[in-house]
């Protein structure tokens, strides 16, 4: 009775609610969803017989069932070795298939690997701060806080670092997570196959304002994106190393903010943690002296 009720309510809920991971809006998330569904179905090959045997055996061989007493066989330890080998082979076979999927899908969906499309690539540098996300568009020379906008059907290549404790960058409907760490650069490639606002989160606890590290990923048409870039350029404060230093101070539930022109503070932020004993500002100046081009930030995939 309880089980039935549970099954009905769950089905109704799943059909009505917005289940982000099961409703992907881009090729990466769609492929990851396929891996989840395929694996679940393969596992069902074991689960269904297990449940079947559990309840059939429990019912049939209950002590209060006199019909089965004739079958009672206290020393039956089943099976000969052939049967025993079969119990090892069935799950092994399924796991072997899953192993092949693991190798193929890990390679195909390597987050560092650019998407196999002929589309132009948009580079966005991401810095996780206490407790907000800074998105820097090095080619456009703009930056924004807690909102990342990009054209649909365009490969977006994120380079990510943190100027804060470890975070994890996640837009469930577009792609799985990648960790974001101070002094390190990670990468994530994704694309949106339709326009819309998608929720983004940090998956890794990063301190007091962690819950406010939600952001919006907005996929728009190319022309809307161009307009957005122009409007940001027209009416914003510049992002300099001084304004960045102020922005990097802890704050919670930061509103969406735009910066233009935006200095690319990404590489200096990475280098800051790599340079022993230097203050942040001097490390930045030092790094500025060398090339701060975003392409230089890419670590070998």
């Amino acid at each position: 009775m309880f089980t039935l009720l549970l099954a009905i309510t769950t089905t109704v809920y799943v059909r009505s609610a917005n289940i982000a991971i099961l409703e992907p809006a881009g090729p990466v998330a769609a492929a990851e969803k396929d891996v989840i569904v395929t694996t679940a179905l393969l596992c069902a090959l074991v689960v269904v017989p297990v449940f079947g045997m559990l309840f059939v055996f429990a019912w049939k061989y209950r002590a209060t069932n006199p019909d089965a007493h004739g079958e009672h066989h206290p020393t039956w330890d089943h099976y000969n070795w052939i049967a025993e080998v079969i119990w090892w082979i069935i799950p092994s076979a399924i796991i072997a298939i899953l192993g092949v999927i693991a190798v193929q899908s890990s390679n195909a969906l390597d987050p560092y690997k650019p998407l196999p499309t002929g589309e132009p690539v948009l580079t966005i540098n991401v810095i996780a701060l206490d407790w907000k996300w800074l998105f820097i568009y090095p080619e456009q020379g703009i930056a924004s806080v807690n909102l990342v906008e990009f054209p649909e059907n365009t490969s977006v290549h994120f380079y990510l670092t943190a100027d804060a404790p470890m975070n994890s960058f996640w837009i469930p409907q577009l792609a799985g997570q990648i960790m974001v760490m101070p002094g390190m650069t990670t990468q994530l490639n994704l694309a949106a196959s339709r326009t819309g606002d998608f929720n983004g989160f940090s998956g890794n606890i990063s301190g007091q304002g962690f819950a406010g590290m939600a952001f919006t990923a907005r996929a728009v048409s190319q022309s809307e994106f161009d307009e957005w870039v122009a409007s940001v350029k027209a009416s914003s404060t510049p992002l300099t190393y001084e304004t960045y230093t102020a922005l990097a101070q802890p704050s919670e539930y930061a509103p969406v903010t735009y910066y233009a022109p935006a200095a690319d503070v990404f590489q200096p932020t990475v280098m800051k943690y790599m340079t022993p004993g230097s203050s942040m500002y001097s490390a930045m100046l030092e790094a500025m002296g060398s090339s701060a081009a975003p392409t230089a930030t890419s670590t070998t995939p």
């Binding site: 917005n18 055996f57 089943h78 099976y79 796991i95 693991a102 690997k113 994890s168 990468q187």
Partner: protein, 659 residues
Amino acid sequence: MSLQEFIFGKLSWSVLPDNLIAWSGAIILLAGVVAVLAAITYFGRWKWLWSEWLTSLDPKKIGVMYIVVAGAMLIRGGADALLIRTQQATSVGDSFGILSATHFQEIFSAHGSIMIFFVAMGFMFGLINLVVPLQIGARDVAFPFLNSASFWLFCAGAALINCSLLLGDFSTAGWLAYPPLSELAYSPTTGVDYWIWSLQIAGLGSLLSGVNFFATIVKMRAKGMTWMRLPMFCWTVLGSMSLVVFAFPILTVTLALLYLDRTAAMHFFTAGQGGNMMMYVNLIWAWGHPEVYILILPAFGVFSEIVPVFSSKKLAGYTSMVLSIWAIVVLSFIVWLHHFFTMGAGADVNAFFGIMTAVIAVPTGVKIFNWLFTMYRGKIRFTSPMLWFMGFVVLFTLGGVAGVIMAEPPADYELHNSLFLVAHFHTMIVSGVLFGYFAGLTYWFPKIFGFRLDEKWGIRAFWLWLIGFILAFGPLYLLGLEGATRRLDHYSASLGWQPLFAVAGIGAILIAIGFCCQIAQLVASIRLRHENRTSGDPWNGRTLEWSVSSPAPSYNFAAQPVVHARDEFWEEKMSGSKQDRQFEDFSMPKNSGAGAIIAAFVFVLAFGAVWHIWWLVALGLLGAATTLILRTFDEDTEVYIRASEVAHREAGLRPASAV
């Protein structure tokens, strides 16, 4: 350093709780402690408690004390769980719930640390103490004094973690305290130090216990108990203890390095200055992954004892079961990276660890098949231990599927750090580990106390736990798929998550009621103990522990048993043969308070280390070392028991034969 700093370290009046909820936690804790102490004083039980329990080296008594402490810590961890569920059900949109973000983070960090280290580990060592010597036909463990010291170190850790309720705060960095958040730069208060030291002490106790029970099973089996006659619970304990011995030193070192970072300005894991935070994450999981198998293996062992007994049939596939245990032991050390597939390691690294993770499902699956075929053609009695088993199979299988899904790295990218993951590991730890231990406690309780636990309340507790669990964690699987990350103290109303969080809250309340039923079960069982008195063999058992009287005598076996078969006691009952009971003189360890005293000094040391009161550290170290050295000079540690004395005692205690 000023005089005040020298004397009090970082302690000051400002470390007392600063809000109502934190104060109520502190007051409940203090009131509880005072009530217990007052009750002992009122009933004049101090001397009895000290000489019969606290100083006892009898593993059965140590086992009971482990379970009592684990039960008390379950109340603490459970209260934390209810606060977490309340916060997440109410803190949405414009409402920010009942807890501040920081307080919420302390609570979930404490919840995880307490449930793993002080509930699951405590419960596990409790059961092992109760059962292992009896099952292998031994009178004691290999190192009885070490066993007592381990238990008291566990208690010292439990006491220290609870000190943070009153003095200072607790870690806000989650149960594994990833740096750099757990480093001084981001966690400047003593919270993380409490976490480090309570785990460090309890972990030391666990390591020593691991050595002890490993040695016990290897060296102290009864004559004739060859490896392939070893009861399955002991096999799983041997596997688990092997993991303890290899894994816990990693934890000890990792915690020590983190403490050096925080205290001695070192840079093992800091952001910058050459520190490598991912090194910590690797190390902590190199311990942490085996840890979950440390917990689950003995639960598998419990089920391997219960299913044959309540099916009146021998365990199917004994050899397979042994092989699968050791497959799990080996594999559990080469899967740790699956906890951070999202680190950005290359595809091949991720694929390797993904495959290894999935492979662990094979021996686990084989175990489930073997339990099911033990039921096949059996005569199954659905007592409450058997119900826990049924619940376990259903939930654990589904939770295992969730685990296999996340073993695929690309699937894990989407599910990692989400509530799906949280639901998965709670399924493994609650419906796997805890259900198993509950079943084991119900099963072996009469052996220790001589009367059964009340079945009526036990069955009520089971159904509340089962339904409560489904309601509490089913919604978390869905929430994870909806993109809900773990550890959120607040979320936007537009996400539409609140109804599911509310259902999860109801589930948590049902589990709490289920726990109350277990308390009621204990009370009812004690009140009805005269009706529920049992023979030595209340369940028609199969292994040696059921061949002695209930409660088992302090020396377990009057005459050392000789083993001729796998299910020795069952075979004896079937063939009508009896053990040849030739009584001989033997010695048993005397009580010793040294373990408790050492642990008390270690507590002082750790408390000093948390608050930077260095003279306390020195005092604790000196005290612990001196007590230990003095104990080694004590040569009067054994009491001699004469054969005639045993014969006299046994005359009134011959176990009634099988049901």
